[in-house]
C-alpha cells in the first residue's frame, strides 16, 4: 500500500535578520488575519517567523500592543491558539501546534521527517504496544480510540478506560495512527528507543487547533460530528461536537442521534430512541454501566443527559454484540467524564431554558472528580414547550355553528408550576497505573404540576345545575442511578472490569378531580374521584466483563451479569378501587462469550458470540446466538452483516387511557400474561469510503415476538373484573434500508440520510391482519449541513418524514339496549389506517467561538428551531358534538429561537 506522505505546510516569512525576543518590543494596533499580523511584526522587528500560512490566514487577530516584548506577544498567541514555538537552526522562530506530546516514556513528541526516518534501522520486530490515551488538556482518558499501524490492517481500539494493547506491531520503527472522533488524529512514530509499555498518548480536541501536520489523506482532520462505519449499525458521537448543531435550548446527545438515518426525528415528544422501528423502551441506555429506564425531560423534549457530563456515546442500531443484552432493538452506551487531572476547571451553559454548571479537577495525583448540575428555569421558552406538550397548542376544525371544543369547557384557571433538574457526579481513583476505580452517580427529576380549576357553569348547564371542578394534576418522574466500577489491565493481554450498580426509575401521577355541583335550590354536592398511578422500579446489577487478547487473530471477551428487579405498579381510579396492583420481582443471570476473529490479513473480522440467560421468574433459560461480519473488500469498500437473537425481560407496557392520555409502566415478563419478548435481527450493509466522503447502506429485518399491550378497551369497566386479563400479546415486524452520504471534511461538511422502512404489528385483539405500528415512518430524509468560517460555525438541518399512522372516529350508530334506552356509539377506522400529514422542519444555528485569555474555548450560540414555522401535527383530538365530529389538531412546537452561552474557566 502506498504510504501517504505527511503534508507539512510550513511557509517561511521573507523578513530577514534576528533579534532577541525579550528586548525587541512592539507598539500599536495589530488588526487582521494572523498571517498578516505576523508579517507586519516581522517587517517591523526583523524577526523571522515560520508558520502555517494557510491556517494563520483563517485566524482573526486584534490587539492593541503597548510597548510589548515580542516574546510576550508570541506567548499570548501560543496560548490562545494552543501553539508552541522554538528557534530553528536558521534563527527563525517556528510556530507549530502543540498537538501531541508523549509521555517521557516515549521520546518522539513530534513527527520526524520522512527522510530522517528512513535512516533509522529497526531493532525489534513483532512487538506489542500498550498504554493509555488521554485528552491533552484535561488528562482524562479517552475510550474506544482507534489505533492502526500505518500501511497495514493491524489495529485495535482502546477500551472504555482508555487502555489499549496493540499486538503484532511489525517493527519498532512503525508508525501508529491514532484517531478518535472529535479529536485531531495523531501519528506516533516509533523509534528503537520507544518504550512499548505504559505509553501515554495525548490527543487534542479538533475544535480550533492548528495542525502542524495533516495526517493521512483518508483520515484527514476530523471535523465530523459522528462516525458510523466502524462496526455494523454503530454510530459514535462526540458530545463536544454537538455544540455546533441546532438545538432548542439544550445541547442534547439523544436529539443529535435523531439526525442519523435509522433513528427517527419526528417524535418531538420523546427524547427516547426510535431506532429502526423500535420503541424507546426497546433501547438499552447504559450510563457508566447502569441502566437508565426513562430518558425524558420536559415531556420528552430533552433527554435526561447533560452533555457537559458526557465523554463518549456509542449507539448500536441493531445487531449488537453478545456483551449487551436485555433489549430488543438498540443500545446506547454512555461514558461520563472523569474530570481533569491537570487542573481545576469550572464552566457552564446558560440558555433560555436552563442553567448548567460543572466543576472538575484533581483532588490528588490519583483522584479526580467531576460534577455537573442542570436545572430548568421558567423562561418564555420553557413555558412555550410546556404549553405545547401539556396540550394547549391546537386548532379545531369544527362543523359550522359548532365552535371549538375547548370553548365548551368554559373558563380554565390554570396555574402551572414545573421544573426539571439533573445531577451527575463521578469520582475516579487510579491507585496504580493498572487500576481504575470509579464511582458514578446520576439523579434527574421532572416535576410537573398542571393542576387547574374549571368553572363551567355554561357548558354543563343542564336543568338547573352549575358545575365546577378542581383538578389535581401532578406528575413526577425521574431516575437515580449509581455504579461502582473497578477495572484492571492485568497484563497487556488481559483486561477486566467489575461493576455493581443500582438504578431506580419512578413515575407518579396524581390526577384527582373534586367536582362540585350546585343546584338551583342551592344544594351542593361534591364528588371526588381520580387516578393515582405509581411505578417504581429498582434494578440491582452486578457485571463482570473481561477481554483476553489471545493473539493477533483472536480477542476473546467473556463475562457474567446478574440483575435483580423489583418493580411495583399501582393504578387506582379512586381511593378505594385499585385496578392494577402489580408487584413483580425477579432476577436474570447471564453469561456471555464472544471472539473477535481477524482473518485474511485482517481484512475479515468475524464476531461469533453467545449469550446465555437464566430468568428466575419463568425458571427457563434463554440463549442468544449472535454473529457479525466485516469484510474489507478493498481499502474503500466494506461489506457488513449481522444476525442475532435478543431477549427482553423487563418491559414497558402501554396502558391506554382515553381521557387523560396513555401512560406506560415498566413491569417484568412473567412468561404467561406477559411473555418474555424476543427479536431476531438480520442486517446487511456495504460502505464505500473515499478521502472526503462516506457512502453507507444498511438493510435490516427484525422479527419481534411476545410484545405486550395493556388495554381496557375490551374489558367492561364495571363488575367483578380480572384486570390482569387485559394484557394482550402480539408480534411485530420491521424492515427497512438506511442510506447515508457523509462529507467528512472541509469547512463545509455534513451528511444526508434517508430511511425507507415499514413497521407492522399484529395484535389479534385489535385485528387479525397486521397493521402499521404507531411508530411507523415510511420515508425519512435528513440533511445536516455545517459550515465553518473563521470562528463561526453555521449549521442548517432539514428533516422530512412521512406522517405517522393513526386511528380516527369514522361514523356513529345507535343501538337500543335491553332497558329500552338507546346508546350512540362512535365507530372507529381500522387500526392505524389513516396517516397524519407529513412532518418536516428546518433548524438553523450560528455559533461563535472564542478563546479566553486563559485558553478556554467559549461559545455563544443562536439557534432557530422550526425556522419556517411549519405546523407539524402531533395527534388529533376528537369530540362528538350533536352528532358531528369536531377534529382538533394538536401541534408540535413552532418557530422557536434560543440563545446559549457556554463558558469555561480553563
Amino acid at each position: 500500500m502506498r504510504r501517504p506522505a505527511a503534508l507539512i505546510f510550513l511557509v517561511l516569512s521573507l523578513s530577514a535578520g534576528a533579534q532577541d525576543l525579550k528586548t525587541t518590543r512592539i507598539d500599536g494596533l495589530y488588526l487582521g488575519t494572523l498571517d498578516k499580523v505576523m508579517d507586519e511584526i516581522s517587517s517591523q522587528t526583523g524577526i523571522k517567523f515560520s508558520f502555517d500560512r494557510e491556517k494563520f490566514s483563517k485566524l482573526q487577530y486584534e490587539q492593541r500592543m503597548f510597548n510589548l516584548p515580542v516574546s510576550d506577544f508570541l506567548d499570548q498567541v501560543a496560548k490562545t491558539y494552543r501553539l508552541k514555538y522554538y528557534k530553528d537552526n536558521t534563527g527563525a522562530y517556528v510556530l507549530v501546534d502543540q498537538y501531541v506530546l508523549l509521555d517521557e516514556k516515549v521520546v518522539s513528541a513530534k513527527p520526524v521527517a520522512k527522510k530522517q526516518r528512513t535512516l533509522v534501522k529497526p531493532q525489534r520486530q513483532d512487538l506489542s504496544l500498550t498504554g493509555t490515551i488521554k485528552d491533552k488538556v484535561t488528562g482524562e482518558t479517552l475510550p474506544f480510540v482507534n489505533l492502526q499501524v500505518l500501511g497495514t490492517r493491524i489495529g485495535t481500539s482502546a477500551n472504555v478506560d482508555g487502555y489499549f494493547s496493540l499486538l503484532k506491531v511489525p517493527s519498532d520503527t512503525s508508525t501508529i495512527v491514532v484517531s478518535y472522533l472529535g479529536y485531531d488524529p495523531t501519528v506516533i512514530e516509533l523509534t528503537p528507543d520507544t518504550k512499548t509499555e505504559g505509553i501515554i498518548i495525548e490527543l487534542e480536541q479538533a475544535a480550533t487547533s492548528l495542525n502542524e501536520v495533516t495526517i493521512l489523506a483518508q483520515k484527514e482532520k476530523s471535523v465530523a460530528a459522528f462516525q458510523s462505519n466502524e462496526k455494523i449499525s454503530m454510530i459514535k458521537m462526540t458530545p463536544a461536537k454537538i455544540v455546533n448543531l441546532p438545538n432548542v435550548g439544550e445541547r442534547d446527545i439523544f436529539r443529535s442521534f435523531q439526525m442519523m438515518p435509522g433513528v427517527s426525528a419526528s417524535n418531538e415528544n420523546s427524547a427516547g430512541l426510535y431506532v429502526r422501528g423500535g420503541t424507546p423502551d426497546q433501547a438499552l441506555v447504559l450510563y457508566d454501566g447502569f441502566t437508565v429506564y426513562h430518558v425524558d425531560h420536559l415531556f420528552g423534549f430533552y433527554s435526561a443527559f447533560n452533555y457537559n457530563a458526557l465523554k463518549d456515546v456509542q449507539l448500536y442500531k441493531g445487531g449488537f454484540e453478545s456483551k449487551f443484552g436485555g433489549r430488543l432493538s438498540s443500545v446506547a452506551e454512555i461514558t461520563g467524564k472523569d474530570g481533569s487531572n491537570r487542573m481545576w476547571n469550572v464552566g457552564g451553559d446558560l440558555s433560555m431554558l436552563s442553567m448548567n454548571l460543572f466543576g472538575e479537577g484533581p483532588v490528588s495525583d490519583k483522584v479526580t472528580v467531576f460534577a455537573a448540575a442542570r436545572k430548568s428555569w421558567k423562561g418564555p421558552l420553557y413555558d412555550k414547550i410546556f404549553n405545547t406538550f401539556s396540550g394547549n397548542n391546537s386548532t379545531t376544525t369544527a362543523p359550522p355553528g359548532q365552535g371549538g371544543f375547548r370553548n365548551r369547557f368554559g373558563s380554565f384557571g390554570t396555574t402551572v408550576s414545573s421544573y426539571f433538574y439533573d445531577l451527575n457526579t463521578k469520582v475516579t481513583w487510579r491507585p496504580t497505573t493498572k487500576d481504575v476505580v470509579s464511582w458514578s452517580f446520576y439523579n434527574g427529576t421532572d416535576d410537573m404540576d398542571n393542576s387547574r380549576k374549571i368553572d363551567a357553569a355554561n357548558f354543563f348547564a343542564r336543568g338547573n345545575l352549575a358545575f365546577n371542578s378542581n383538578i389535581n394534576d401532578v406528575t413526577t418522574w425521574g431516575n437515580t442511578g449509581s455504579s461502582l466500577k473497578w477495572s484492571r489491565q492485568w497484563n497487556p493481554k488481559f483486561y477486566s472490569n467489575t461493576l455493581v450498580s443500582y438504578s431506580n426509575y419512578f413515575s407518579r401521577r396524581d390526577r384527582s378531580n373534586e367536582n362540585t355541583i350546585t343546584r338551583s335550590t342551592g344544594e351542593t354536592q361534591t364528588v371526588r374521584n381520580g387516578t393515582l398511578e405509581d411505578n417504581n422500579l429498582y434494578d440491582f446489577s452486578f457485571k463482570n466483563d473481561n477481554e483476553w487478547k489471545l493473539n493477533d487473530k483472536n480477542s476473546i471477551e467473556f463475562g457474567l451479569m446478574m440483575t435483580k428487579w423489583d418493580i411495583q405498579y399501582t393504578y387506582s381510579q379512586n381511593d378505594t378501587s385499585t385496578i392494577i396492583n402489580r408487584h413483580t420481582t425477579g432476577g436474570n443471570y447471564t453469561g456471555y462469550l464472544q471472539d473477535h476473529i481477524r482473518l485474511l490479513n485482517n481484512h475479515l473480522l468475524i464476531v461469533p458470540g453467545i449469550r446465555y440467560n437464566y430468568y428466575d421468574v419463568t425458571k427457563q433459560t434463554y440463549n442468544e446466538p449472535r454473529f457479525s461480519i466485516n469484510y474489507l473488500v478493498t481499502d474503500r469498500i466494506t461489506l457488513k452483516g449481522a444476525v442475532g437473537r435478543y431477549y427482553q425481560f423487563a418491559k414497558r407496557v402501554i396502558r391506554e387511557d382515553i381521557l387523560q392520555g396513555s401512560r406506560d409502566f415498566w413491569t417484568l415478563a412473567d412468561g404467561n400474561l406477559l411473555p418474555v419478548s424476543y427479536a431476531d435481527h438480520y442486517i446487511a450493509g456495504v460502505s464505500y469510503e473515499t478521502d472526503g466522503y462516506l457512502f453507507d447502506v444498511e438493510a435490516y429485518y427484525k422479527n419481534l415476538q411476545g410484545l405486550s399491550e395493556y388495554s381496557l378497551r375490551f374489558t367492561p369497566s364495571f363488575g367483578k373484573i380480572n384486570y390482569s386479563e387485559s394484557f394482550y400479546q402480539g408480534t411485530g415486524e420491521t424492515h427497512g434500508i438506511d442510506f447515508l452520504i457523509q462529507k467528512k471534511q472541509g469547512n463545509y461538511n455534513g451528511w444526508v440520510g434517508y430511511t425507507l422502512s415499514q413497521t407492522t404489528n399484529t395484535f389479534p385483539v385489535y385485528q387479525e391482519k397486521p397493521y402499521l405500528a404507531s411508530q411507523n415512518v415510511t420515508h425519512e430524509f435528513k440533511s445536516i449541513n455545517m459550515y465553518r468560517w473563521r470562528n463561526w460555525d453555521f449549521s442548517l438541518t432539514w428533516y422530512y418524514a412521512t406522517g405517522r399512522p393513526y386511528t380516527a372516529p369514522q361514523g356513529a350508530y345507535t343501538i337500543t339496549l335491553l332497558d329500552g334506552n338507546t346508546n350512540t356509539f362512535t365507530s372507529v377506522s381500522a387500526k392505524n389506517s389513516l396517516q397524519l400529514p407529513d412532518y418536516h422542519r428546518m433548524d438553523a444555528a450560528i455559533t461563535y467561538h472564542w478563546t479566553s485569555k486563559r485558553g478556554a474555548m467559549n461559545s455563544l450560540g443562536l439557534s432557530f428551531f422550526n425556522l419556517y414555522n411549519h405546523r407539524n401535527v402531533w395527534y388529533k383530538d376528537y369530540q362528538i358534538v350533536s352528532g358531528q365530529l369536531v377534529e382538533t389538531n394538536v401541534y408540535y412546537l413552532g418557530f422557536t429561537p434560543n440563545i446559549i452561552l457556554s463558558w469555561r474557566l480553563n
Binding site: 336543568g463 338547573n464 335550590t521 344544594e523 391506554e656 387511557d657 382515553i658 392520555g661 396513555s662 446487511a684 464505500y688 457512502f695 438493510a699 381496557l712 378497551r713 375490551f714 367492561p716 369497566s717 364495571f718 363488575g719 367483578k720 424492515h735 427497512g736 434500508i737 442510506f739 415499514q758 407492522t760 397486521p770 402499521l772 393513526y806 386511528t807 380516527a808 372516529p809 369514522q810 361514523g811 356513529a812 350508530y813 345507535t814 343501538i815 339496549l817 335491553l818 332497558d819 329500552g820 334506552n821 346508546n823 356509539f825 362512535t826 365507530s827 372507529v828 377506522s829 381500522a830 387500526k831 389506517s833 389513516l834 397524519l836 395527534y875 388529533k876 376528537y878 362528538i880 352528532g883
Partner: protein, 267 residues
C-alpha cells in the same frame, strides 16, 4: 468502479424489494349495524341499520332487502322483513344453550356473527316483595333529605361469574310519582351496570313511581357487557366500540332472563 457501484445498486434493490405493502382499508364505506337480541323462548327478531359516516350527510336508517340467514348448528333459516323493518323468523323460538350464527352480504362483503344462548338465571330472589316510601317534594327541601327504607337485595346463583344485568320497569298504566316536584326528570325504567356478582341492591331512592315493578335479571354474554364501555377521543388512543359482528358493527347476542315483581307502596 462502475461495476462496484452497480453491484451496490443491485444489492440495495434486492433489499428494498423485500418490503411488503400494507393495503389501506377502505374507510369511506359505511358498515351495517346489527341489533339482535336472541332471548330464549322468544322468536328471532333483529334490525340492520347503516352507520352514519361523519364524512357524509347520511343518517342512520334501516337497510332493507337483505338476505339474512340464521343457523342453529343443524338448520339454516331465512329471515323475512316485517313492516317495521325487522328481520324475523316467526316460526322458530330460540332455544337455550344453542349457538346461533347470523350471516348476510352487504356491499359484497360477507357479514357474520355468532352467539350462544345462555341458560336462565337460577335461584333468583328478592329480599322483599314490597317497599314503602313516603312521598316528598324535592323543590321544598330545606336541606333535610327524606328518610328512605332499606334497599331491596336481589340474589341469584352465579358460580361461574357470568355477566348479569338488572332492569327495573314500572308496569302500571298510570303510575303516581314518589317525588311530587315538577322540575324532576323521571323514567319508568332503570338498570344496573353489568355485574359478575350474585347480588345487587336496589336502593329505595331509585324508584320514581309507586306501583308494581318488574325486576328483570338478564343473564347476558360478555359481548353485550362490553357495549357499556366508553368511547375514545383522540388519535393517540382511540377506543373501538365493541362488536361481535365481523365486517359490521353492533351486537348479535343471546340473553336469558328471570323476573320478580316488587311493589312500591305509599304509607
Amino acid at each position: 468502479m462502475k461495476t462496484r457501484i452497480s453491484h451496490i445498486t443491485i444489492f440495495c434493490l434486492i433489499l428494498g424489494a423485500a418490503c411488503t405493502k400494507i393495503e389501506p382499508e377502505n374507510t369511506s364505506q359505511a358498515k351495517p349495524v346489527v341489533e339482535g337480541y336472541l332471548a330464549a323462548n322468544h322468536i328471532i327478531s333483529l334490525k340492520v341499520t347503516n352507520e352514519a359516516l361523519f364524512s357524509t350527510a347520511d343518517t342512520s336508517r334501516v337497510i332493507n332487502g337483505l338476505l339474512v340467514t340464521v343457523m342453529d348448528g343443524t338448520n339454516t333459516y331465512n329471515l323475512s322483513q316485517d313492516a317495521n323493518g325487522y328481520y324475523t323468523l316467526p316460526s322458530l323460538k330460540v332455544n337455550k344453550s344453542l349457538t346461533y350464527q347470523l350471516s348476510f352480504n352487504y356491499n359484497s362483503q360477507p357479514v357474520s356473527a355468532a352467539t350462544v344462548i345462555p341458560p336462565a338465571p337460577e335461584n333468583y330472589t328478592a329480599s322483599d316483595s314490597t317497599i314503602v316510601i313516603v312521598p316528598f317534594n324535592s323543590s321544598t327541601f330545606t336541606g333535610v333529605q327524606p328518610t328512605f327504607p332499606n334497599p331491596i337485595t336481589l340474589t341469584w346463583s352465579n358460580p361461574d361469574e357470568s355477566y348479569y344485568i338488572v332492569v327495573v320497569k314500572n308496569i302500571e298504566t298510570n303510575p303516581v310519582p314518589i317525588n311530587t316536584s315538577t322540575d324532576v326528570e323521571r323514567t319508568f325504567i332503570f338498570r344496573s351496570n353489568p355485574v359478575q356478582n350474585n347480588t345487587y341492591e336496589i336502593r329505595a331512592r331509585q324508584f320514581q313511581y309507586y306501583g308494581r315493578h318488574w325486576v328483570i335479571l338478564y343473564r347476558i354474554n360478555a359481548e353485550y357487557a362490553a357495549l357499556y364501555d366508553n368511547n375514545g377521543n383522540s388519535s393517540l388512543n382511540i377506543k373501538t366500540p365493541y362488536t361481535n359482528v365481523t365486517n359490521g358493527l353492533g351486537i348479535f347476542t343471546g340473553i336469558n332472563a328471570d323476573t320478580v315483581v316488587v311493589r312500591v307502596k305509599n304509607k
